[in-house]
Symmetry: C2
Subunit: 369 residues, 2 copies
């Protein structure tokens, strides 16, 4: 199965008016009776490179759903770091060019194929496991679309399948965590880090968090972080002291690393015997250095976590159940992601430039509605 | 349970004749009717440091078994790298001083406590999970002693619980391996590496082996190695080419690392998607360097394997079953370890010096009989 969406529409972009002419010439008679050639906008890349350079706006005919398919009017889609890597060509899964980027988003069902019975026009939905969400409308197999609870905030819904799913997957990387267990993480003030804090709270876990900038600590505490320290040697010492002061002194058995280098090493140091250290990002752009003795005598496990691959490995029912749970937590207010700014699709270059800045204080969202 | 043996005999060494005098004075009357104060030899350390410096010969009264205990006349015991680390004080488990070193060995039951029924005088046995085997005789709880098949080569039996058990544990570090699966390893010409080759063969696995010195390749092939290369960039390229040439091109999903540094990185490179990389040694004395992207996008798992801890975690029945299987393979000739030299207990310093040399071409064994 092509998890990348396999978008094969022609590129009817600004620079290729011929495409649209052809459409007008050959399809004019039919167009008068069909919505298919109403133009609509989407983001398209035909090469990889600096995101704001390679992303273009394309105008394509409105797609219509065939049998087993659903047409979705997209409402919102975020620009994630993984999307930037995808545009740069540095993501683990390469773009099949040309293609529409956008790993997540949410929309409303507009039309369904005649044999689709479980999804109805007007239902809020999210595409799952398919790239291509930076578009006004898209047609997908019904099997790649999950319903969302009525009344859900569509901007929050648009951010459900990357960070909250990552946080859930990370917290379960060493099996189902025991209630009350401690989890350590760096990059705690990232979007994924904030999700880890919130989901850990709902699951009854406790978190010891490391942040690069001291001023990020307050937001972590507000979301329910138990302990927050700066991500340096002093912070590690303070974390050890604080954990030793617990009623029953604890060592975390799960550590979540999105940084690498020394920060990853500090998490290894904090882990207890038999602990698991999961790497899901490399913000520090430094390789992990693992002292052999620590690995052997603490019998540690180091894992790589790649959302894309993990999601693909989940049975369909489990995936649906997980997203239903995450969506409920959004509705109940237990799970919330900050939004730094919203941009219309036509301002994709500005959106990408903004998303590329560190310390944005939230997600950059495309407002497609 | 004290897995270290908890040896509490006094030090009746060369420099402390007083100890023996005391024994003679106070226990003389009883000694006339009991074997307890016949002296016997053992190796003792009262401090950690350079192995040949800290190891001394001690003379102690002959131990006798109490209820639930067994007295063993030791026959042979190897000097393993882990023993050298134990003497140096760099092993993961520290020595409780003074103590008798020696992590493995084999002997013959000499006497049993009145309530021990499953072990009989004359049976060949091996102590399991207890340090203290560099001694002419030792008393152990019957639960720390496993029977060996009659007629087994006692020198090979003495080397059963470290390298063969390590090889078995390593080959099962990612679960029960599928028949025909490929396993990669560095340090293939080490004692553990040779055991990996032989046990993999019995299990129907195939091995791609890396050796530091080209002249070590032949011995690996004789033991059943499928592919052998030098442990450098050229060897890695040759290994990739050879694996690609298989009927169904293969990537190993299990890699066993006893070196660290660049050698460990080459094994990571060779691993397929979702593979497991197990570190059980650090001969290269260089930390593991793991590129984050490789860890994440190949969804790799890195583990530390520590025999001591793994053995302690095995249910008693499983441990007994495993050693019975390994012993059978020794008897049937499927499993064999090279012996570089044998030394009497009294030449412990020479034995330790020899064991500390690299490229010995086999184990240094203490001949205790």
């Amino acid at each position: 199965m092509d998890r990348q969406g396999g978008y094969t529409w022609n590129h009817y972009g600004k620079g290729s008016a011929i495409g649209f002419d052809v459409c007008l010439t050959f399809e004019l008679a039919w167009c008068l009776h069909s919505p298919i050639c109403y133009p609509m906008l989407q983001v398209l890349i035909s090469r990889t490179g600096p995101p704001a350079e390679v992303a273009e706006i394309a105008e394509i005919p409105m797609p219509v759903p065939g049998p087993g398919e659903v047409s979705i009017r997209m409402v919102a889609a975020p620009v994630n770091p993984a999307d930037l890597n995808f545009l740069e060509g540095t993501y683990g899964k390469k773009a099949v060019l040309p293609c529409v980027p956008g790993m997540e988003g949410a929309g409303v069902v507009e039309a369904v194929g005649h044999d689709v019975t479980d999804l109805k026009p007007g239902m809020p939905v999210m595409p799952v496991g398919v790239v291509g969400n930076w578009t006004a409308r898209r047609v997908l197999p019904a099997s790649a679309v999950l319903p969302l609870p009525a009344g859900i905030d569509m901007r929050q819904a648009a951010m459900l399948s990357v960070n909250p799913a990552t946080a859930w997957g990370l917290l379960h990387a060493a099996g189902t965590p025991a209630s009350g267990a401690w989890v350590a993480q760096n990059a705690a003030s990232s979007a994924a880090g904030h999700c880890v804090i919130q989901i850990a709270k709902v699951l009854g876990l406790r978190t010891v968090n490391f942040v690069r900038r001291p001023e990020s600590a307050a937001a972590c505490r507000e979301l329910g972080a138990d302990l927050v320290f700066t991500d340096d040697a002093d912070g590690l010492a303070a974390a050890k002291a604080a954990l030793a002061e617990q009623h029953v002194p604890v060592v975390p058995l799960l550590a979540l690393n999105a940084v690498g280098g020394d920060s990853a090493l500090r998490l290894l140091d904090l882990l207890g015997m038999g602990g698991t250290h999961v790497t899901y990002g490399a913000m520090g752009r430094q390789a992990l250095k693992v002292p052999n003795g620590m690995l052997i005598f603490k019998t540690l496990t180091l894992r790589g976590f790649w959302l894309n691959q993990w999601q693909a490995s989940l049975p369909r029912e489990e995936e649906a159940e997980l997203y239903a749970k995450l969506a409920d937590w959004v509705v109940s207010g237990h799970l919330r992601q900050e939004i730094a700014a919203m941009y219309p699709l036509t301002e994709i270059k500005a959106a990408l430039a903004h998303a590329g800045q560190s310390a944005r204080g939230g997600k950059v969202l495309l407002d497609i509605s």
